[in-house]
């Protein structure tokens, strides 16, 4: 197992180098100058040149890349051009919040998807199945920003149950912080449960048609036992892959939801940095996202044997 993990981590290294190269050069290909964005429309050429010199932007691109890569290798992602904060600290602070929201939401969505998907498959082609399929298609079709605004207006404004601006961290006011993340979690849960439910349903239907399930029924096992012991573990493996991909994708930032609910998360940081051409932050965020993506998928791969004993690390 350990050698498998080590092999996977080694294989990830070239991926990370490619990501680093791509993010460094692609962001610089985009027109726009961070010095101009910072200094504003009235800045004169001398001030812009000074700023370039201070930020090291007057150096040739390969030299800039080598300097940055050298710092990254030492664990230093640099400092934000806009705020002057260390990028690594900035990312970790923002990631904590994003990860909290995403992990809870994906866990809830997975739970809903497993229950609803299994139920729909078990009652295939009945009204219940159609209702579940219809509901999951509906939530899939709703754009997340619109759903977020609807929930905000209903629970935040109309009913007044939940706060939605003025986020405070858990360390300062745990109750208030918990209330702040309810609506973002709800928005994400609803959105993600749709796609996961459909995947779970189709996998379960496929598994239910296999001979060993018929055999289990023929042995006289109860439907609950058949579903729990024979259908679920095999049907869940593809859904788990999707859960991994979803987690990796969402942990990279949920910018729209963070913007609507004024959550200072990783997605908003990334969008703001792109707009401000804050190169060190954009590079740091994308590199960090790649690492998270690789890590999440590794963990998911390591979880496969739990559900499907035929899959082993070797």
């Amino acid at each position: 197992m350990l050698s498998y993990v080590a092999r996977r981590l080694l294989l990830a290294l070239p991926t990370l180098v490619l990501v680093a190269l791509a993010v460094f050069f692609l962001i610089r290909l985009a027109p726009g100058d961070p010095a101009l964005v910072m200094l504003g429309e009235g800045a004169d050429k001398a001030a812009v040149a000074d700023m370039h010199r201070e930020l090291g932007l007057d150096q040739p691109l390969p030299a800039q890349f080598l300097t940055w890569a050298g710092h990254v290798a030492r664990g230093d992602l640099g400092r934000s051009i806009s705020s002057g904060e260390p990028v690594a600290a900035l990312i970790l602070t923002r990631f904590r919040l994003t990860a909290t929201v995403v992990v809870i939401a994906v866990t809830l969505a997975t739970f809903i998807a497993v229950c609803a998907g299994m139920l729909a498959a078990w009652r295939q082609d009945t009204k219940l199945d159609m209702a579940i399929v219809g509901a999951s298609t509906l939530v899939l079709a709703i754009p997340s920003f619109w759903l977020a605004l609807l929930l905000l207006l209903l629970f935040g404004l109309k009913l007044g149950w939940l706060p939605f601006v003025g986020y405070v961290p858990f360390s300062e006011a745990p109750v208030q912080a918990a209330l702040f993340v309810v609506l973002p979690i709800l928005t994400l849960t609803v959105g993600q449960s749709g796609v996961l439910t459909r995947m779970m349903r189709s996998s379960a239907i496929e598994v239910m048609q296999l001979e060993y399930v018929t055999h289990a029924r023929a042995k006289g096992l109860s439907e609950a036992a058949v579903l729990r012991r024979h259908v679920f573990p095999n049907a869940f493996a593809p859904t788990l892959t999707l859960v991994g991909l979803t987690l990796g994708h969402l942990l990279g930032g949920i910018a729209v939801i963070e913007t609507v609910f004024t959550l200072p998360g990783l997605g908003r940081l990334m969008v703001d940095s792109i707009l401000a051409r804050d190169y060190p932050v954009v590079q740091g965020c994308l590199l960090f996202t790649a690492v998270v993506y690789i890590a999440v998928n590794l963990v998911v791969d390591l979880c496969y044997p739990i559900f499907d004993p035929r899959v082993t690390a070797s």
Binding site: A46, A47, S83, F164, G166, V260, T262, L275
Partner: protein
């Protein structure tokens, strides 16, 4: 807690659901009581976080607004656009108009309790002029600016003498500019021993409190603030902190900000998007204010472009634009059209400046033909960060088409548009300039040598001469004549088409008193307080 009380006859699942909702409501109430403290807290919206706490350094409009509560300069803009005293009680100008002698007010203390002295002013100005500070207005005091500062001294603790290499009538206006951080006077302990920035220790009515990046920034009332007498007047006048704490909350989404105001989670939205007006007009919980500002929106035309080099084609484009209709559509009827670079809030804005160019499609066609225009596409750059710029581009395109002039719209992000503006890399560009309190400064944004400074719009030696004349003079009659002449030439040569002056819309909770917009388009929360729990 009502749902819990009334759930007796429900089925167990419904009861459980209601119980859960009851818990949520209970926790919300608990959180609300936690937030309610004895101190008075005024909550205002910022659409994005401030960039730093360094006045005039790493800055944007939000940074200027917040820091205007913390630091003060020698002089400050008044409501009517004139410059008045702030930390300086008075000043004299030498006969050669190169030396300004400021007499400081007594009894002013910094937030750390230290008294204000001339040495602090000298230290602050010298620090601003260092290149490492990246002071926004350093270039104004360089070779291309209004005049170079060749000396700043404090002969006694109450006197500051500032000497320039040439007469600079715009000196006081420049020192007071909000984007220059009002050249705020700082205590030297605002920086560390190595010169690195710590926090602003100023003389303003509020001190910097907690700053949670991208969440909020708190300003705390400075109890020993020495206010000028009289009412609030622009950035000057009486500046009384009526609340214990001001919290600027970062809310990027305008719909969320509006919902927060309606719910009572926010007290002030200083710059409400016109698109959000529909949700608050007529709501008794909210008060709205509309104020004309000096921000001006315009279509810039690249005079170096082979096609647009002919002034007849530029005039033809201008003749197709119905400024009134465009302004009404783009600003939802909240702003007034204006074709003059002199803002409608200026005392130099007269009926001459107020005249709008009339649409004349036949003349536009004739001029375009005479200029040799044969339907070539003209690239019009705009962006979606400011929806009004995008909408304006769409309307300009449609209006020009009526005279056979073809625009293709190129939508880019804001950083890209700023770069194109700075490099002069455009044919047409929809843009806006933030307020300048003196028309000479507005014209200075437009006039200049494009070979030296490609962002300049109007490369005309005659216009430059007129601008220099306006900058050298402080006689209102002379200046009015110069601005009228500039206006005439500007319309004739049409290097740009000014579309409108923006109106700033603010929304406050009904129990907020004292909030007032002003032409500088700057959020001021001194003199603002509450008159009751819900409304007055």
């Amino acid at each position: 807690m009502k749902p819990i009380v009334s759930m007796g006859g429900c089925s167990p699942p419904v009861r459980r659901a209601r119980r859960a909702l009851g818990w949520i409501a209970g926790l919300a109430a608990l959180a609300a009581t936690q937030g309610a403290a004895a101190e008075t807290l005024l909550r205002a919206r910022l659409a994005s976080d401030i960039l730093s706490t360094e006045p005039g350094g790493r800055r944007d409009g939000n940074t200027d607004d917040v820091l205007a509560h913390v630091v003060e300069g020698l002089v400050a803009y008044r409501e009517n656009g004139e410059v008045g005293p702030m930390l300086a009680k008075s000043w004299t100008i030498s006969p050669d108009r190169r030396t300004y002698t400021f007499r400081l007010r007594t009894g002013v203390t910094f937030h750390n309790g230290q008294p204000l002295t001339a040495a602090d002013v000298v230290w602050s100005i010298k620090r601003y002029l260092q290149p490492s500070t990246h002071w926004r207005c350093a270039s104004e005091f360089g070779p291309q600016g209004i005049g170079r500062i060749i000396g700043v001294a404090g002969p006694d603790p109450r006197t500051v003498v500032l000497t320039l290499d040439r007469p600079a009538p715009l000196l006081l206006q420049t020192l007071a500019r909000p984007d220059c951080g009002q050249t705020g006077v700082l205590h030297p302990s605002s920086v560390g021993p190595d010169g690195t920035w710590r926090a602003p220790i100023g003389t303003g009515p509020f001190m910097i409190g907690a700053w949670k990046r991208n969440q909020y920034i708190d300003l705390v009332r400075f109890p020993r603030y020495a206010s000028l007498p009289g009412p609030r007047d622009g950035d000057g006048g009486g500046k009384h902190a009526l609340v214990d704490r001001v919290r600027f909350i970062v809310i990027p989404d305008s719909s969320a900000a509006r919902a927060a105001l309606l719910r009572g989670s926010l007290d002030v939205i200083d710059s409400l998007s016109p698109t959000e007006l529909g949700g608050v007009v007529g709501d008794r919980r909210v008060r709205l204010q509309y104020a004309a500002t000096g921000d001006f929106w315009l279509l810039m035309l690249q005079t170096r472009d082979p096609l647009l080099a002919d002034a007849r084609l530029r005039r033809a484009i201008a003749l197709t634009i119905d400024s009134a209709a465009l302004t009404k559509a783009v600003t939802w009827g909240t702003s007034r059209p204006d074709n003059s670079p002199v803002p409608s809030t200026s005392s130099y804005w007269t009926p001459f400046q107020a005249r709008l160019r009339k649409v004349d499609l036949a003349e536009a066609r004739r001029l375009a033909r005479a200029a040799g225009y044969r339907g070539q596409a003209i690239r019009l750059t705009t962006n979606r960060r400011f929806p009004q710029m995008f909408d304006a581009a769409i309307l300009i395109q449609a209006m020009a088409r009526r005279a056979g002039i073809r625009f293709t719209i190129d939508t880019v992000d804001w950083a890209n548009e700023v770069q194109r503006y700075s490099a002069g890399d455009y044919q047409g560009l929809v843009f806006s300039f933030s307020v300048r309190m003196d028309p000479a400064m507005d014209f200075d944004l437009l006039i200049g040598d494009k070979t030296k400074d490609p962002r300049k719009v109007w490369a005309s030696p005659a216009a430059q001469a007129l601008l220099d004349q306006a900058s050298r003079s402080d006689d209102p009659v002379t200046r009015q004549a110069v601005f009228d002449a500039l206006q005439r030439d500007f319309l004739q040569e049409t290097p740009a088409v000014v579309l409108f002056n923006a109106t700033r819309i603010s929304a406050t909770r009904a129990n907020v008193v004292g909030f007032k917009e002003w032409p500088a388009a700057q959020q001021r929360l001194w003199g603002v307080g509450f008159c009751g729990a819900r409304s007055c």
